[in-house]
């Protein structure tokens, strides 16, 4: 039905769609991914194994998926949004019972060779579903308490499931990503003020719950918060990660120690140097110049997404693009804050750079949707 809303005449079709892809975003994504390959090569001690090679393959696969998603009309994805959300939600519930235990958290389901992390997928399907929801909902009803409540349920159910896994980083991304879409969709200011006030109270409740049987966070999460607040008090224990990460970052200086010359990462002082903390290696080896360049690349990706969204008169496409851009932004902003000691260590990877399959595939699928919105926008 939605198909009818678009004037097909004004939408490119066939191979012409390729022209209407947002090429700058594709180039920027490739540039960021290449930076990642370089860093994975470096942290492996100058070797394509064990990290760089699989990462390249995944990126290739991800790009194919992205182009495929981009070719499919955006209205098809809008129609799939609710279904996708429900399926992801079911998968999230399934991992509660059948998921493997990895790093103290139940996060993935194994389908033969494919290891699926529903929480990663949820970052995308939640944004899609919310965008579709607000597209369907008349603007004037957006601030009606009942409809706000419905949106909150859509966000909070998966958030709590993810938090139970427990994966604080993803839960925060879902919460902030979903909240941003609600905000963009025009929900009344007052709600956000209330929520911010309430969350301050909530944070206090979380701290109060520590040590009681109903404590809301796992002990290691509390410790991470403690460590964030004062990493110096336990430099060889819980604060070790962040202290070493800061040393690596700071010792980079202006231009860094040179490719593969980072002593902190090469000598294993850095924790999870190929995943969450890969930014420290980059900063150590390429210095301020390298770190700032990466930040600029990320920013440009967000900027191009926002420009594409604002040019798009379609409400779903616009909200979706902005939502994905926001999720992407949260990814790298939280990761960088975390390794630079501005935020607690919550386990958010650096998008497209950190080693990891699920996150990359989901992100590139998300950018596929952005491309689809760009290609199929009424001109």
């Amino acid at each position: 039905m939605s198909y009818l809303e678009y004037n097909v005449k004004y939408v490119p079709s066939g191979f012409r769609k390729l022209i209407y892809l947002n090429w700058p975003i594709i180039f920027l994504l490739t540039a960021v991914a290449c930076t990642g390959f370089l860093m994975l090569y470096s942290v492996a001690g100058g070797s394509v194994t064990p990290w760089m090679e699989p990462q390249v393959k995944r990126f290739g696969l991800g790009m194919v998926v992205m182009l495929f998603v981009a070719m499919v009309p955006i209205w098809f994805w809008r129609n799939m949004a609710a279904l996708g959300y429900v399926i992801t939600l079911i998968l999230l519930i399934v991992v509660e019972f059948f998921g493997s235990i990895g790093m103290g958290a139940q996060r993935w389901i194994e389908f033969g060779p494919i290891r699926l992390q529903p929480s990663e997928l949820m970052k995308l399907t939640l944004v899609m579903f919310l965008a579709a929801y607000y597209d369907w909902l008349p603007v004037r009803r957006a601030s009606h308490p009942l409809w706000v409540l419905a949106a909150l349920v859509i966000i909070l159910v998966p958030t709590f499931l993810v938090l139970k896994q427990p994966d604080l980083g993803t839960a925060l991304l879902l919460l902030f990503g979903g909240g941003t879409i609600m905000f963009l969709a025009g929900v009344h200011w007052a709600y956000f003020v209330t929520v911010i006030a309430a969350s301050v109270g909530g944070v206090m409740a979380v701290f109060q719950s520590r040590g009681t049987p109903w404590q809301l966070l796992k002990e290691y999460q509390f410790r991470r918060i403690d460590t964030f607040l004062d990493p110096g008090n336990d430099p060889l224990g819980a604060g070790y990660h962040i202290t070493q990460a800061k040393i690596a970052l700071g010792s980079g200086g202006w231009t860094g120690r040179g490719f593969m010359q980072g002593t902190q990462s090469r000598l294993n002082f850095l924790p999870e140097k190929h995943t969450d903390f890969i930014f420290t290696t980059l900063a150590e080896e390429f210095g301020f110049v390298g770190a700032f360049t990466l930040l600029t690349l990320y920013t440009l990706i967000v900027v191009f997404c926002v420009v594409s969204a604002l040019q798009n008169k379609d409400r779903f496409a616009s909200l979706l693009t902005l939502g994905i851009a926001m999720t992407f932004f949260l990814f790298f902003a939280v990761n960088m804050s975390m390794v630079m000691g501005l935020a607690p260590v919550v386990g958010v990877p650096l998008p497209l750079v950190s080693y990891g399959g699920s996150a990359m595939l989901v992100l590139l699928t998300g950018f596929g949707l952005v491309q689809s919105a760009n290609v199929h926008r009424p001109r």
Binding site: V139, G250, G253, T263, Q264, N268, L295, R315, F329, A333
Partner: protein
């Protein structure tokens, strides 16, 4: 649900407005990130760079080889022994328990040793070598090395550990080393980083302790790059340290061995000084102990035995014992009086067996008294009353000054543990230490080397050296450090009347060689090497009036610790003094019977640089001496192996 175009435009404007707000928030976050980057990577870069280098580079110390200690003839007294040990590296071994089982079949390993090793291995990082056995025999090492392919992770290593080939003979002089303890660190104001090495061996007593910095050498360093687990990635550079300096002592190990053998069975100290340079040829203390026990880690039982032994084997009696010198102090009192001119050597003093001073009766050892007696006779017969009199005439300050001039009551700077300065008391000393004023009775007591006067055998030996030579002989223990000769202790002539000294020497000659001398029984029979001496018997208790009335209690009837100390000082040959000897036998009884024979035997051994001819002994003792010599030769011989004369 078809939307009106107006609605759609409205929506787009709403989204744009809200997107602007979100965008502003994002710009804020990006700004914070950028600023943080700048702050950390530019403003604080130097600070973090330093931290990174500290993280990465470890400085490891290479312990230097400890300096060796030789005797005057080049016989090693302390050396570094190759110490083979078996270590295991967990990560190379794989199944540690199985490897240890195999190892136990090749060499003796008790289950306790294996258990201890397993615990240690579990505690350490997998790449840290853990010692399983130390001081492994060469045969075991060979067996382990041959079977190396079957014993992954097992390595035979060689290190250095201290060995004292002379064993107990020089325990009190050379001392011993042991692992540095927290207590040592708290005492030492020594920033040498070597001391931080776990179980680093430092000198604990004796020369090992006092010449620690000389013997230790300086640490080499190697800078290594390590990872976060402490695993060594590579060596960056290395700087070799300096081995410790070799120390040559003035001790003659053969004479020392003889002295220890001669003192065996007594609780005694003896010192032999070579008068030419003040060289300490032998510094004997008995009983003694084996310093090697301490190096290997002394067992609690051995330690308790040593510590609770009433003869105090751990004490270096020759230098740290403080005894009243008794009659051996009479040379000091006599010289003080003669030098002060308060009495002429030929002037006589009447001895009636006691002297009344300030209402107290001071007895002579000879109850019947010596009658009229001059200086020569008084020393020869050791008359106490004569010294009561001349001591009072000279005054305590003169006596104390003479004592110090002759080396009693002054600290001799020797690299030995707990060297006791002794006490040469005077008025100021008593006021200062006791808060009481000096009384005339104190002078009377001090005049015969009792009361507050204290000295070690070393002090006595120095005294007799100075009397024999008229020079300010200063004892010297270290002959050379790294082949650099140390200053001689021969000394300048003392500010003393040589004629008076000659009289004192003549009187000491008479003590040993005049038939009425107190040490005539322990004389040297050959005139050209005859010795001059002085006996001493110092009381450790007060003799009460009743006891004296009952007649003098014989020493043998008293419990050991209440018997008199026996002392003897001597030099020889009389005409051209070469050696001075002082012997103190704790609670040995009379100086003439307990100490003099020992001193004579020692000085003869020194004079002849080995067993003296039997003719040197009085005819009546030769048979017994011959037996003794036989016995001592057996005892001394093993220690003197390799004593090539340099």
């Amino acid at each position: 649900m078809k939307r009106a175009p107006k609605d759609s435009a409205e929506s787009a404007r709403g989204i744009s407005r809200r997107a602007l707000v979100v965008g502003l928030a994002q710009v804020g976050v990006l700004g914070a990130l950028g600023l943080r980057m700048q702050q950390m990577q530019i403003d604080q870069a130097d600070q973090f760079r330093l931290l990174a280098d500290e993280n990465r580079i470890n400085i490891r110390l290479i312990p230097p080889a400890r300096g060796l200690i030789f005797d005057r003839n080049g016989v090693p007294l302390a050396q570094n022994e190759q110490n083979y040990r078996i270590v295991i590296v967990r990560e190379d071994a794989g199944d540690v328990a199985a490897v240890l089982q195999k190892l136990a079949q090749l060499m003796p390993l008790s289950p306790e040793v294996i258990d201890k090793a397993m615990i240690e291995i579990a505690r350490r990082s997998p790449f840290v070598p853990v010692t399983i056995a130390e001081r492994v025999s060469w045969d075991d090492i060979a067996r382990v090395s041959i079977n190396a392919p079957a014993l992954p992770g097992v390595i035979a290593e060689v290190g250095l550990s201290r060995l004292y080939p002379m064993g107990s003979d020089l325990a009190h002089v050379v001392g011993y080393v042991g692992p540095v303890s927290d207590y040592d660190l708290s005492l030492l104001d020594d920033p040498d980083p070597l001391l931080q090495i776990p179980k680093f061996q430092i000198g604990k007593t004796g020369v090992e302790n006092k010449l620690e910095t000389t013997l230790r050498g300086s640490a080499g360093t190697k800078r290594i790059e390590v990872n976060a687990l402490g695993r060594v990635m590579r060596e960056i550079d290395r700087q070799e340290g300096l081995p410790g300096a070799d120390v040559q002592l003035t001790i003659d190990s053969r004479l020392q061995a003889y002295v220890e053998a001669r003192l065996e069975g007594e609780s005694a100290g003896a010192v032999v000084i070579d008068l030419e340079h003040g060289d300490l040829r032998a510094v004997g203390s008995a009983p003694t102990f084996d310093p090697n026990l301490f190096v290997r880690g002394i067992s609690l039982r051995d330690w308790t035995d040593l510590n609770e032994n009433k003869y105090r084997p751990l004490a270096a009696k020759a230098v740290q014992g403080a005894y009243p010198p008794g009659s051996t102090f009479k040379m000091v009192t006599g010289l003080a009086a003669l030098q002060a001119g308060v009495i002429d050597p030929e002037e006589t003093v009447y001895c009636r067996g006691y002297t009344e001073v300030a209402g107290t009766r001071f007895h002579c050892w000879k109850g019947a008294g010596h009658g009229n007696i001059n200086f020569h006779e008084s020393l020869k017969q050791s008359c106490d009353c004569y010294y009561y009199e001349v001591g009072q005439r000279a005054g305590i300050d003169n006596i104390a000054a003479m004592a110090r001039k002759l080396g009693i009551g002054v600290k001799h700077d020797l690299p030995l543990s707990a060297v006791h300065a002794g006490t040469a008391p005077d008025k100021a000393w008593k006021t200062e230490t006791r808060g009481e004023s000096w009384r005339i009775g104190d002078t009377v007591n001090a005049a015969i080397g009792q009361g507050y006067v204290l000295t070690s055998p070393l002090g006595l030996a120095v005294m007799v050296s100075r009397i024999a030579t008229g020079r300010n002989v200063e004892p010297r223990l270290v002959r050379a450090i790294d082949a650099v000769e140390q200053p001689s202790g021969g000394g300048e002539p003392l500010d003393l009347n040589e004629n008076l000294l000659r009289r004192v020497r003549a009187s000491m000659d008479a003590v040993s060689n005049n038939t009425r001398g107190t040490a005539y029984g322990s004389r040297i029979a050959l005139t050209e090497v005859r010795m001059a001496g002085k006996t001493g018997t110092s009381q450790v208790r007060r003799i009460t009036a009743e006891e004296r009335a009952r007649g003098v209690t014989r020493n043998q009837d008293l419990p050991w610790e209440r018997r008199d100390h026996a002392l003897f000082v001597c030099f020889a040959p009389v005409d051209d003094p070469k050696f001075a000897v002082a012997v103190v036998v704790e609670h040995g009884g009379g100086g003439s019977t307990a100490a003099a024979p020992i001193a004579r035997d020692i000085i003869l051994q020194a004079l002849y640089d080995g067993p003296p001819p039997l003719e040197a002994y009085p005819a009546n003792v030769r048979a017994r001496i011959a037996e003794d010599q036989q016995r001592f030769q057996e005892r001394v011989a093993p220690g003197s192996v390799g004593s090539d004369r340099a």
